[in-house]
Amino acid sequence: MSHSTEIDSKQAWDGGTSPFGVSYGKMMMWFFLVSDALTFGGLLVSYGFIRHKYVDVWPKAENVFTHFPFIEQHLPLAYVGLMTFILIMSSVTMVLAVEAGHRNDRKKVTIWMFWTIVGGATFVGSQAWEWYHFIIGTETGALRNVWSEELHTYVQQTVYGANMTVNEYGVPQFANYFFFITGFHGFHVFSGVIINLVIFLNVLKGTYEKRGHYEMVEKVGLYWHFVDLVWVFVFTFFYLL
């Protein structure tokens, strides 16, 4: 928060006070997130490069992700839309937990943190489901020239689903980038859920009640929103465009 009246401008740079008006821990969380965002930015930029290179054979997401759990219909992008909704929702519950923390309202922090963890875990599970269907592929598969080690030549062969070398939906690079970027993001969500769980247990124990402020909730909140932020971009570049 901006509290410019609290700190004399003459004192700001002579030690003892933060010119940024935030605590050390929060600023370091921001710096970490900038570096992490650069990593994701680099990955997405490299995805863009390869996509430009193979623009004519790049698969369209609406032909790849067409499944929805328990419904036997062709529903392109519906499930990923739901996943996006779940993650945005868990971001909202997180920010409400942070807001409750600012009022030292332990009960509300507990409730909202709980729903954040539920949302995060649901998202990770959905991503696993999405991966599973992408890996096993369709019943029909697709014809490909696959390199044979015994014959030392390419042989025509039907391939099913996607892995790091073949991809029935299009160029293998699509699968490589999909696995790497959504995997890296999924790992962030997974660690976010674990970190949220630790903070949640601390809230239950009353650690922050004793400390007098819930800034740890705010810090994990920053990380959690960042995970949502990355997903917004992954969603656009992998599924929409």
Binding site: E6, V45, H67, E72, V92
Partner: protein, 160 residues
Amino acid sequence: MSEFHDDYPSYETLAHHSEEEGKPIRKNLWRVFWYMLAITIFELVVGSMAPSQGWSGTLGIKVLFIGLTIVKAGFIVMAFMHLGHERTFMKYTILLPYVIFISYAIFIILDEGVYSGDPQNRTKVDPLLIKQQEDLKAGHGHHADAAEGHGAEHAEEAHH
């Protein structure tokens, strides 16, 4: 709380507010949520209409989607992550280095990606794959002849 914290003033407790002050803050957060939900639904509707309307891959739709993504990112960073309410100095310390690096990276991939996608610079692509993508573009993909309702396990697969 630890030796790493400067002890004065206590920035952690400065962020406190009362119940009444919290009300408009919560209202604003929910409003941001509804905006983001509306944008996401809009994106999905446009995205699912795109193939039949012939919008897929057009410049207009790309600009639209990327623009909306940046709007959503702005909502998350400014409202949810609270950066919009931090001190100006803090705000630009976080935003400017990132924007500068990524703008440069985007410029360089657009430039080099177009160059290396040129047929004379490109590694060979499996001709069967090229044919599959052409078929898909023409509207009769390899999924088209898949029968409906095969067994329990693969039932939700391969419908088109």
